[in-house]
Symmetry: C2
Subunit: 369 residues, 2 copies
Amino acid sequence: MAVTLADVAARAGVSAATVSRVLSGNYPVAGATRSRVLRAVEELEYVVNGPASALAASTSDLVGVLVNDIADPFFGIMASAVQSEMGPEKAGGKLAVVCNTGGSPERELTYLTLLQRQRAAAVVLTGSAVEDEKHTTALAARLRRLTEAGTRIVLCGRPPLPEAATGRADGADGADGEETGDSTAPITVAFDNRGGARRLTEHLLALGHRRIGYVAGPVERTTTRHRLEGHRAALADHDPQLLAASDRLTVHGAYDRSSGYDGALELLRRAPDLTAVLAANDTVALGVCAALRDQGLRIPEDISVAGFDDLPFSADAAPALTTVRIPLHEAGARAGRLALGRESAPPGGVATVRTELMARASTAPPRVN
Amino acid sequence: MAVTLADVAARAGVSAATVSRVLSGNYPVAGATRSRVLRAVEELEYVVNGPASALAASTSDLVGVLVNDIADPFFGIMASAVQSEMGPEKAGGKLAVVCNTGGSPERELTYLTLLQRQRAAAVVLTGSAVEDEKHTTALAARLRRLTEAGTRIVLCGRPPLPEAATGRADGADGADGEETGDSTAPITVAFDNRGGARRLTEHLLALGHRRIGYVAGPVERTTTRHRLEGHRAALADHDPQLLAASDRLTVHGAYDRSSGYDGALELLRRAPDLTAVLAANDTVALGVCAALRDQGLRIPEDISVAGFDDLPFSADAAPALTTVRIPLHEAGARAGRLALGRESAPPGGVATVRTELMARASTAPPRVN
DNA sequence: CTCGCTTTAGAAAGCGCTTTCTATCTGAGG
DNA sequence: CCTCAGATAGAAAGCGCTTTCTAAAGCGAG
């Protein structure tokens, strides 16, 4: 039915091998032959059969990108950046497969299997990891098998896998010292969530805030933990008392608007005299703002609010949101290049992306009562 | 290296054919044999070789989803909905490949080629189409070839291809009446942009607005045209004079925030006495709001603003944005089901999704000067 | 001129799976 | 007790490409 290599070969008066070589360009072919082949390709509108070539070459041109939620710009931006590095133009047209895990560990594993089945050339895992013994182990196992199959793994916006989870499967391995291997270990592009959260809290402290609420993300995620750690480190540095009080001023929820809304109400219930609320991210912050406004509080006159991530809409909120900027696009692009092997791995396999405090209108000194 | 069908077969003491049949489940296999095979699969942690099976079966389990901009929730929501219909759980785990065209016609074509190369099972094209003779023809040709190759095509959020563009390529086709064929024609899930825009404008007219500015999207896109047509139809119905004036009160830009900002300033320059501004979509509306505020105007007291799409953040804007809701998730999910053939095509191959006016705080009666 | 080297092209063996076509083994009906 | 349909399983031929391995030229040197 469809046009095959053989058809092109026949038309160009050469063998299939030659056509293949012209197309992949990894073998010397005489100029005249080459152009004859290329013309035949044009004339027949030949399109390579991906599966066939993937089978023969035992590697495909698919690259998987796992995200928690495509509809969330946080992931959208990273995914788009990853894809921009492999676009049809660049680097011989890899196809980025964006997979939506919805934050579910099971789906994460299932997608990895699906990608293994496709013999993906690389996989980029974005977003926070779930910190659960069992899942971490299962994930490490899957990633190991992918690596063994020649798939390059890049983690973007999540910490490296804990060493402990990298247990080997095939025990009969002789000497157990050097875990060398041709298989590349996962590369990580991590975000400095701790540092960002710390600077953000320091900013509030500097403004004079002392009763600071925190609407955090889901407990089990690394990102949640790191941001919280940064926050608490800043508090501790300033005054150990604050640290002690912070437990009661912290609530957990999802990374969405309604968690922010509910979380803010809960915090207000616990401590009506709050002067500032930190949110797990910008989306949550928007929910917090809505709740506070609904309670008749003005931002920032009555209470300050800050987010995290600096998504595009944050600058547009009214008032413009104070937040911590993460260079998502740059990080995604870098992850993409690492995935394609177009950039060499950073020393230690971990690159940390700096975050930057964006002080805007939603934070101000607390009102003097 | 990797575990193959043959390994599983050997372990289960059956032939490769049997294993294949157990896994695809489209052929009777005795219960005992089946479970023996499944156990072997488990024990060996066997993962099918996708390319190999795609080659042999001449169809893959990839489904392409083309979007203009993944980082834009408008597309993110649709993409996620499409994917939710094929997720690892449902329908035998198809893999949705989200491709970011960036709105470029060339990239759209290139991605279609890439998907054809992968022998994608289906392709969903989302978002507005570019209305350009040449591109439309090229697109129609590509889609025809995909269809011929057995790839199902679904358009989501864009109008059906103009009949004219569906020119056939191979002329020697005998009778030219019936263009029958086993190949399914593209199915469309269109948005009622015209109706939505019309109702939105009627809403403003009903509030008493007469000088209404319009910050439209890129000229060459169908969505832009349809929304503008709805707007103008409402004006014409109300008072032909208004229609005449509307040309001067319309500016075009991209579907982004800065276009909204710039567009609003331009409109204000042309007609300082505007009482309302309609934006191409919600993102643009946010830009419009920012510009108006920067000019010292209050929304909605001094001037009303409305968007389109009803993205999640619109309800959170301050003031909450009046807009037109498009059920993006439902539309995407339906497109996904159509792509998988799990839902039969609507009569005529075109389903139109209703849009709904969401009147919120950003629109109010004009100030009485 | 012939030898041996480089350059270029073809032959052919798979890659791992699907799927016809065949073979075997049941058990029911005559 | 034999025959034949029905149910299962296997053999084997590809699917379209990549990639060794091999062969045929082309060419400077001895």
